[in-house]
């Protein structure tokens, strides 16, 4: 009996010591909760190993009872060594990445590009670009060929005029890319997949622009689970949510609203000498719904809305023509359904339509400007891969705009960039309908392993001028070696008169489209020899011939009516641009440099520099990344821009305004622009969410970079405008 008891106790004890149990769990990436598949998980000291499946699951069927440690050692992740919890059989393990975002510059030339004139920045590129405050379009200003500007809502490309740049979302034109003079672009940055910058020599898909294109390609939702993020900085806050709806459909939506105006309003209340009381506010919304009909067929619907509101009470400012209460509301909306189908291995179809409206209301005391327009744009493209050597793309790019405009404002002339307020308001109502219809053909012909030719054609009809144009364009790439590429692009570009330039009421109905001919030659050298460290270099020269430019005139017809505009302007732009990236260890150095000479000519003023003739434009960017920290700095040097001096003024005794007497157009220059920015990013990785923060200090040396002149009421006194002072910007983003 005693023996039986002893044996029983022994068996019980042994079964406790040597009993085995099943252990299972899921391996996640820390912060993002992405599951980690095909990863080995070890249990020590038992030397057990399991490999995670596609859903990150692992299973150890027989683990001896007692304490043990999980060990996971995966490339690019921090090693974990975690002690088991008593009696727990189901675990969630979190593996922390070494780097969550690695700032990379655009690598060009590794493969034959569809468009050699295009550069693009991915989301991770622009979110960490110094000086850009996570904005995709501001980040474009770090690229060569883009003029440096402060407080500007426009992107000036390679010495062209601001109105020579078109902005689009998913290829469909929008009227504005920025809220309030460049504060931030009109879409939540994290909803943007990439920003495309097309300059001299761009392809046939785009037109109606002499200078270039800024296009934001939005992204569809992640489908693994629902994600969300909230963000804020000193001017705005917003949120984004995305995830699957069904197995085949997903949704991403975001909204932003500014509180910047409230701050300005409070500041203005505290300051007696503040010229205006202002409340600028903006809001924007974005939705992207995607439905995968099959593996080869999908439908998506993008909706975007933007609204800027401003009301001012002007106490006293120098320009009397601006006195009074001012209000302005600017909105635009687009709904963009899109259908994509891979018809077969050779043929793909991509069709989209954007329907929306643009509205602008401006009131200045009794004067007003009310614009309401309905806009429909259509894009369609069929890609046909004839064989390995030849791929054809044929597409349409149609724009219909129906405009209703009521205006009661004085004529406002800004010849040479010097504003003259007209004396008396005139009224006009315009109801107009424009249709611009373009068909394009792109052919990518790989002649051999080294040479690729892309002879392209765009044909476009402008209903406003009743003109049709043939626009042949050519892209060519030659591979000299695995790391050395030559690119060439040329083409004709036409731009219809804009903004009433050819209306009977405000312009000249007899004028036609403006024309530009582009030439680009570039060399791309990749010294990295297959690694991701080392030097890449992209050097190019460009030349643009500008013809039939629309210029204003004070000439009149024999019946006394004003001609207002002619096609008598012309010009040239020539430049050199360089982009280099050097990466080693945790350091990245980026350089972009543009040398530019941009000239205009018209019969009344002869030849003169264009307003955006920035001779030298240099950006030097340095980035250091380590663990959760990232430090970056940007040095910008830009030659002072030209301006037209005012040599005197005459008093308009009827309007109580002074009419400036202009000197030679753009014959003087502002001081050079020098700015140093600094940015630090810090990520805080929690198990189920990530907090990202940044401090972006612009103009850290507080340099006075004013690129403008303020004049007294009668132009007898002048003073250099104050530039942007040192501005620290703090931003936070939480995401799960």
């Amino acid at each position: 009996m005693r023996l039986n008891i002893y044996l029983s106790l022994n068996i019980l004890l042994m079964s406790t010591c040597f009993a085995q149990t099943g252990i299972k769990g899921v391996l996640f990436e820390k912060g993002t909760r992405n599951v980690l598949a095909e990863t080995n998980v070890f249990i020590m000291p038992h030397k057990l190993k399991a490999t995670t499946d596609s859903k990150g699951r692992f299973l150890f069927p027989d683990v001896p009872k007692g304490k043990f440690n999980f060990i996971v050692n995966k490339s690019n992740y921090l090693r974990i060594d975690i002690e088991s919890t008593k009696n727990e059989t189901n675990y969630e393990l979190y593996l922390e990445k070494e780097f969550y975002d690695v700032f990379e510059t655009v690598v060009t030339g590794k493969e034959i590009k569809k468009d050699v004139a295009k550069k693009s920045l991915s989301q991770k590129d622009f979110l960490k670009a110094p000086g850009a405050q996570e904005d995709p379009v501001k980040a474009v200003q770090n690229l060569p060929g883009v003029a440096s500007q402060t407080f500007s809502s426009q992107i000036v490309i390679q010495g062209s005029e601001p109105d020579d740049t078109r902005y689009s979302i998913d290829g469909h034109e929008i009227p504005l890319i920025f809220h309030f003079g460049g504060l931030t672009s009109v879409v939540t940055p994290t909803a943007v997949r990439e920003v495309e910058f097309l300059a001299a020599g761009f392809g046939p898909e785009y037109g109606r622009a002499l200078g270039g294109i800024i296009n934001l390609n939005t992204r569809s939702a992640k489908t693994d689970r629902w994600h969300g993020e909230g963000f804020m900085d000193i001017t705005k806050l917003g949120a984004l949510a995305e995830g699957p709806i069904t197995e085949k459909s997903s949704l991403i939506t975001s909204a932003r609203i500014s509180y910047f105006g409230k701050i300005v309003e409070k500041v203005a209340e505290e300051m007696d000498d503040f010229g205006v009381t202002a409340a600028p506010e903006f809001q924007d919304y974005y939705i992207n719904y995607k439905y995968d009909i099959s593996d080869d067929e999908r439908f998506s619907l993008v909706a975007i809305s933007s609204k800027d509101t401003l009301e001012l009470i002007v106490k006293e400012i120098d320009n009397p023509s601006f006195e009074g209460n001012i209000s302005n509301v600017t909105t635009f909306n687009r709904v963009i359904p899109r259908y994509y189908k891979k018809i077969n291995d050779k043929t793909k179809l991509d069709v989209s339509v954007a329907v929306g409206s643009d509205n602008l209301t401006f009131n200045l005391a009794e004067r007003f400007f009310e614009l309401n327009s309905t806009v429909i744009t259509q894009r369609g493209e069929v890609e046909y891969k004839y064989n390995d050597k030849l791929t054809n793309y044929i597409g349409t790019d149609i724009q219909l705009r129906k405009v209703e405009l009521d205006i009661f404002l004085p004529n406002n002339l800004s010849g040479g960039g010097v504003n003259t307020a007209g004396s008396e308001s005139t009224f006009a109502r315009i109801e107009d309908e424009d249709v611009n219809t373009a068909v394009y053909l792109r052919n990518i012909f790989k002649y051999n392993e080294k040479l690729s030719l892309s002879p392209n054609l765009r044909v476009e009809h402008f209903s406003t001028t009743e003109e049709s144009y043939l626009m042949p364009r050519l892209n060519a790439s030659y591979t000299l070696s695995d790391s050395l590429f030559l690119n060439f692009a040329t083409g004709f570009y036409y731009q219809a008169p804009q903004n009433g330039q050819n209306s009977k009421e405000f312009g000249n109905p007899d004028i036609g489209a403006e024309k530009s001919t582009h030439y680009l030659f570039s060399v791309v050298k990749d010294f990295r020899q297959g690694s991701n460290k080392g030097l890449t270099l992209d050097v190019g020269v460009f030349y643009k011939e500008l013809e039939d430019l629309i210029v204003s005139t004070d000439d009149r017809r024999s019946d006394g009516t004003s001609i207002r505009n002619t096609n008598d302007g012309k010009g040239t732009v020539q430049g050199l641009q360089l982009q280099a990236s050097y990466k080693f260890d945790e350091y990245t150095l980026l350089t972009s440099y543009t040398f530019l000479k941009s000239r205009r000519n018209d019969p009344e003023n002869g030849t003169y520099p264009s307003e955006f003739d920035q001779t030298h434009n240099l950006n030097l960017i340095g980035i250091y990344e380590r663990s959760r920290w990232s430090f970056s700095t940007r040095l910008r040097y830009v030659s002072g821009g030209p301006y037209t001096p005012v040599e005197g003024a005459s008093y308009d005794a009827d309007g109580d305004v002074y009419i400036p007497t202009r000197g030679d157009f753009y014959s003087e220059r502002f001081d050079d622009f020098f700015q140093l920015d600094f940015r630090v990013d810090r990520k805080f990785i929690y198990k189920k969410w990530i907090l990202s923060s940044y401090l972006d200090i612009q103009n850290i040396t507080n340099a006075n970079n004013g690129q403008g002149i303020s004049y007294s009421y009668d132009y007898s006194e002048k003073e250099k405008s104050a530039g942007t002072p040192i501005i620290p910007i703090i931003g936070l983003r939480g995401e799960f």
Binding site: G275, A278, E316, A365, E424, S425, T561, I659, D714
Partner: protein, 280 residues
């Protein structure tokens, strides 16, 4: 319309962020140097040949009784609103006229070398009206400007100022012609101003005439508009916080010292003007 979107956007951010004002400049309402404050035509709009008298209101507080030389020329508007120079150089001689003279600022009608100066007689001849009749009929109805450009020069230091005035030629009937607005006088804190203010208060015009309505041919037919009246304020000492106000709107004045002059100029925005000068 993208250009319009962008320009408005930029302008408003400029206002919002930096105010666009500059306290280092002399205020527009502050009198001191040689200035033309108003040019008043007895008939700002005419529909037949006539001699129009233009009365200048001049101020030269700092001039100390300087002799001023003046010269004027008149011609059809060369297109100033469209960028033409303020000059009659491009006009045919048959449509031009000019003259010159001088006066001493001691002789100006008010004190502190401020007041009405020698008037200008502009003869809008039948030849000018014949030219006018050759123009587009809508232009004739809406009005074509005959420009008077006056330059005043300090004979001591050569400092000069140029001002322009439009005499509007129209085919409208006599009863529809524009006339100068009128007002009773300046009020300070709702009472007639009898002395230089000793403390901050509000200026206002009394008994202002109502805005006229007028017709214009637009691209959607003939429309009727109402004049947009406004007042410009000036002082030789002290400061108007708003140098320009609408009718019925007060302009706050912060006095400095114990004497000075005040000027109010009342305009209808299309050439009609009247003014008042008060000295203390």
């Amino acid at each position: 319309m993208n250009k319009i979107f962008k320009k408005f956007s930029f302008t408003f951010l400029c206002f919002a962020l930096i105010g666009c004002g500059n306290d280092n400049f002399k205020a527009q309402s502050e009198l001191g140097g040689l200035r033309v404050l108003a040019l008043s035509a007895n008939t700002p709009e005419i529909n037949s040949a006539a001699t129009v008298t233009v009365t200048p209101l001049i101020s030269y507080v700092d001039g100390g009784g300087a002799t001023i030389n003046y010269s004027w020329e008149a011609c059809p508007d060369p297109g100033i609103d469209f960028g033409a120079e303020v000059s009659c150089d491009s006009s045919p001689a048959s449509l031009k006229q000019s003259s010159s003279g001088s006066f001493n600022t001691n002789t100006l009608s008010a004190s502190l070398f401020t007041g009405v100066a020698t008037s200008i007689s502009v003869v809008v001849s039948p030849a000018i009206f014949a030219y006018f009749a050759s123009l587009d009929s809508d232009l004739q109805f809406n009005g074509v400007d005959y420009l008077v450009i006056v330059t005043y020069t300090d004979s001591n230091n050569g400092k000069e100022v140029t001002a322009l005035k439009r005499i509007r030629l129209t085919s409208k009937a006599g009863g529809d012609l524009n006339t100068n607005p009128t007002f009773g006088g300046m009020l300070f804190n709702n009472s007639a101003i009898l002395a230089y203010p000793t403390s901050e208060g509000d200026f206002l015009l009394s008994s202002t005439s109502a805005p006229q309505t007028y017709s214009q041919i637009t691209n959607v037919g003939t429309k009727t508009f109402s004049e947009d009246m406004f007042i410009s304020w000036y002082a030789s000492s002290g400061e108007f916080l708003s140098n320009r106000t609408d009718v019925g709107e007060k302009s706050t004045f912060d006095p400095k010292g114990s004497s000075g002059i005040f000027v109010a100029v009342y305009r209808d925005g299309r050439g009609g003007v009247s003014f008042d000068v008060e000295s203390f």
